[in-house]
């Protein structure tokens, strides 16, 4: 442990050099900016910045790229909260409560809890990375297809908490998402499904496109078409900028729970950032003492529903560095491109990395602590400015959202077909709002569907068709048992006359 401490101190000595501090700062600013923009994700940005590895020394470049990676996890929440436009798939859950809060004049606290939660989760995540990376990596490898599939079953079941007031409508939305997720070639055999001979559909429908279409475009159009005609000068209310005592009290436990969910799932190969944010949201929804505040109950937005998923997202980003640095296995597209950056310096991330390039890795880890602090300092003062954005009169605000969404989606692959598709989906979003169907389950279905199909097929292939594999392996079985508990415990308790804090 003392040795780790000394190595980390050595790392800080590297990271705190003015040039490296500057690179960290540039990375954080850039990351925040791209996190804000839908369609342009951290993976693309890191990829575009890779050429600088030809000119900058390894520590500087890697520190900057990690700054981008971290900053994007911060920035993604901003547009989710303010404009209901998730910049990344991992900030979709944030939009649910965050945007509702913003509409009720509480954008400030929502942004603040996201920023502080990200800082706390990120810092704890890096601490865990420093101390337990090899142990976590060994645990993460225990996740094979069977474990993943069981985890996804749990995610599917707990997702009912985002289904909204009517189960039937929620399930209809979820099925729509599952159906959209089937479009394109299946990931195992490459057989095209439901493409209707449209070449653009062969590689599937991007979920950021659907999310932006349903959330942002759908909402903007709905407001234009159906909101009662009021004075065109109406603005959103802005009642408070800072978090109240109560906000703090409700955010703390959510941050910690989010971290506990996000970090381990970040470290499992092929995990992705979406599932931990789903699970965190469901957890907060179930545990909250203020169930009436949640947007699906018609409330004013629950702050724990922002704090949890945002913390989970950032802890996940730290967790993803564990397999990256210890095994050379990327768990996300961005992590994978970071591997490319290492390789450009002829450094191979993997089991030998800490031995061959120790000072560099420790410098990188130290810079993550610094980067986290930088992001907090950078983001907190901006909260006031961002929140005031909502005081723009509604017509201009919604027009701005449409422009913003169009630029982002077109930027993904410069395709006018995508733009057209986004507006079609936007119209579907209007219809769904009109008839009271929740839109979040569509995205959840779209993300979970193809992932669980792939894992199920591989798991059954490994077990030679034995469905009991999901109960024979300890981790998979744990998830299955949890699923069953989540499904039946509330029912049994209710039968016995025990009332839960929420009336479900």
């Amino acid at each position: 442990m003392i040795e780790t401490w000394n190595l980390l101190l050595g790392g800080f000595a590297t990271a705190i050099q003015p040039a490296n501090l500057m690179w960290a700062f540039i990375g954080c600013v850039l990351g925040t900016a791209i996190g804000v923009l839908p369609g342009i994700g951290p993976a693309l940005t890191v990829a575009m910045l890779l050429p600088i590895t030809a000119k900058v020394d390894p520590s500087g470049a890697l520190i900057m790229l990690c700054g981008v990676y971290y900053g994007a996890a911060y920035g993604g929440s901003t547009t989710s909260i303010l404009m209901n436009t998730p910049g990344e798939s991992s900030s979709i859950m944030t939009a649910l409560e965050g945007n509702t809060m913003a509409k009720h004049g509480r954008a400030g606290p929502a942004l603040a809890t996201a920023a502080i939660g990200s800082f706390i989760a990120g810092t704890i995540g890096v601490l865990l990375l420093t101390l337990f990376a090899p142990l976590v990596a060994d645990f993460a490898l225990k996740f094979g297809p069977a474990e993943f599939f069981s985890l996804m079953v749990l995610a599917f079941v707990t997702v009912s908490s985002v289904l909204g007031a009517s189960m039937v409508r929620g399930l209809a939305s979820l099925s729509l998402g599952l159906a959209i997720g089937l479009v394109g070639m299946d990931a195992i055999a490459g057989i095209p499904r439901y493409t209707g001979n449209v070449p653009e559909f062969i590689d599937g429908i991007e979920f950021v496109l659907v999310a932006v279409g349903l959330f942002a475009v759908g909402e903007a159009l709905y407001n234009v078409l159906f909101e009662p005609k009021t004075d065109p000068g109406t603005r959103n209310k802005l009642s408070s900028i800072w978090m109240t005592r109560d906000d703090w009290k409700r955010s703390w436990p959510a941050w910690l729970r989010g971290t506990a969910i996000g970090f381990p799932f970040g470290s499992v190969p092929a995990g992705g950032a979406e599932i931990p944010t789903f699970l965190s949201y469901s957890t907060e929804r179930k545990l909250s003492k203020h169930p009436k505040d949640f947007s699906s109950e018609g409330g004013k937005g629950a702050i724990e529903g922002v704090a949890g998923p945002e913390a989970a997202n950032n802890a996940n980003a730290a967790g993803a560095l564990v397999p990256l640095l210890t095994l050379g296995i990327p768990t996300s597209a961005t992590a994978a491109i970071l591997i490319g950056a290492f390789q450009n310096y002829n450094i191979q991330p993997g089991p030998l990395l800490f031995q061959t390039s120790g000072p560099l890795v420790w410098g990188l880890i130290a810079s993550l602590y610094i980067g986290n602090l930088m992001l907090l300092v950078l983001n907190l003062p901006l909260v006031g400015m961002w929140a005031r954005l909502l005081t723009i009169p509604k017509p201009q605000l919604y027009a701005g959202i449409l422009v913003f969404a169009s630029i982002g989606v077109y930027g993904m692959r410069q395709s006018s077909f995508d733009l057209f598709l986004m507006y079609v989906i936007g119209v579907i979003g209007v219809i769904m709002r009109r008839f009271d169907f929740p839109v979040a389950p569509v995205i959840v279905g779209m993300i979970l569907g193809p992932m669980s199909e792939k894992q199920l097929r591989n798991a059954l292939s490994i077990s030679q068709g034995d469905w009991l594999i999901f109960f024979k392996q300890p981790i998979a079985c744990t998830f299955m048992v949890l699923t069953i508990l989540v499904m039946f415990v509330p029912m049994i308790l209710r039968k016995r006359g025990v009332r839960l804090s929420e009336d479900d």
């Binding site: 900016a33 804000v36 030809a54 590689d203 994978a336 591997i339 450009n344």
Partner: protein
């Protein structure tokens, strides 16, 4: 009011600036690579090393990479053919894996929808087990396979890949019905390595370069390589040396966008050839155990046609396609 608006304007400015940055790929000399596998695998390493060498050779101002994994690279190929029609700066990494996936799955978009540019090198696969596996040699694996074909879980790349074909060929050589093998396809080398390290599959196979860091650090044990003779400087025996009469190589190369002119195609080929002479590229060849085999123009196109036939025949021979 004015100050409030400036916030929104700043927001929009960031948006516009970032998009301008993203669309640089369309300016001349900025080469855009499509890599039809998730990052971390051999396809990925090929694209990134070649891109780096192109920049160093001064034939490309900068390079961008896009990873789109799944189904032997044909999902990436579909996107490539759709999104980069007529783009003289677009390249896609291809190889025997992709040809195999096309032969087996017959996707709507094939290599016929892109323009052949150059073959780069051959590489050979290695069969590995986790360090704590009781299997010590390929003979042990073959015996286990003969006893119960389904009990050996083979992990590797997509269905129809060289990985998959080699497993089917081993089964056939051992007198086991190749349709009985239990092959688990993963997206990209990273996922496959994780599944092998975690013991979720019995035996794994992938390009030697992807596995060598795990072999060298002792986390995996190499059982056999698929080349005709031992790889230079590596002690791992070949399949043939262990009585399994199978030898199979995997080539990689690049294709250009559909609808480019003959002159644009030649310019791309020249750029790739220039890059293949760079030190960083020859270093990459050496460190990954890749064997250079540059071939361009019509000869490359003919070679790929031949590969289609050869792979189709070997797949038919082992019962993978009808």
């Amino acid at each position: 009011m004015k100050t409030r608006f400036s916030g929104a304007l700043r927001h929009a400015a960031v948006a516009v600036a970032s998009v301008a940055l993203a669309s640089q790929g369309f300016a001349l000399d900025n080469v855009k690579f499509m890599i039809g596998a998730n990052p971390g695998g051999g396809f990925d390493q090929t694209g990134r090393n070649l891109g780096k060498a192109m920049v160093e050779a001064g034939v490309a101002k900068s390079v961008q990479y896009e990873n789109k994994g799944g189904a032997g690279g044909t999902i990436g190929l579909a996107q490539f053919a759709n999104a980069s029609k007529g783009d003289p700066n677009a390249l896609i990494v291809t190889g025997a894996v992709m040809v195999g996936a096309i032969v087996q799955n017959k996707p709507p978009v094939t290599l016929a929808n892109a323009t052949p540019v150059a073959r780069l090198f051959y590489e050979y696969n290695v069969f590995v087990v986790p360090a704590n596996s009781p299997l010590k040699s390929m003979k042990d694996v073959v015996e286990m396979l003969k006893k119960d074909p389904g009990s050996v879980k083979w992990g590797g790349g997509s269905r129809g890949s060289v990985d998959h074909i080699s497993v089917a060929m081993i089964a056939k050589d051992a007198g086991v019905d190749p349709s009985k093998i239990n092959y688990v396809p993963f997206q990209g080398g990273g996922e496959a390595s994780a599944a092998i390290l975690g013991g979720h599959v019995t035996v794994g196979t992938s390009g030697y370069s992807e596995m060598q860091q795990f072999i060298k650090s002792g986390k995996m044990r190499a059982l056999a390589v698929t080349s005709g003779s031992k790889l230079p400087g590596e002690p791992v025996p070949t399949l043939k040396e262990q009585g399994v009469n199978v030898e199979i190589g995997n080539w990689r190369g690049v294709y250009g966008a559909p609808g480019i002119t003959e002159a644009q195609r030649k310019a791309l080929a020249d750029a790739v050839v220039a890059a293949s002479k760079q030190k960083s590229w020859t270093d990459a060849l050496a460190s990954n155990d890749w064997f250079p085999a540059v071939l361009t123009g019509e000869e490359f196109a003919k070679f790929v046609d031949g590969e289609h036939k050869r792979i189709e025949e070997s797949m038919k021979a082992v019962g993978m396609v009808k």
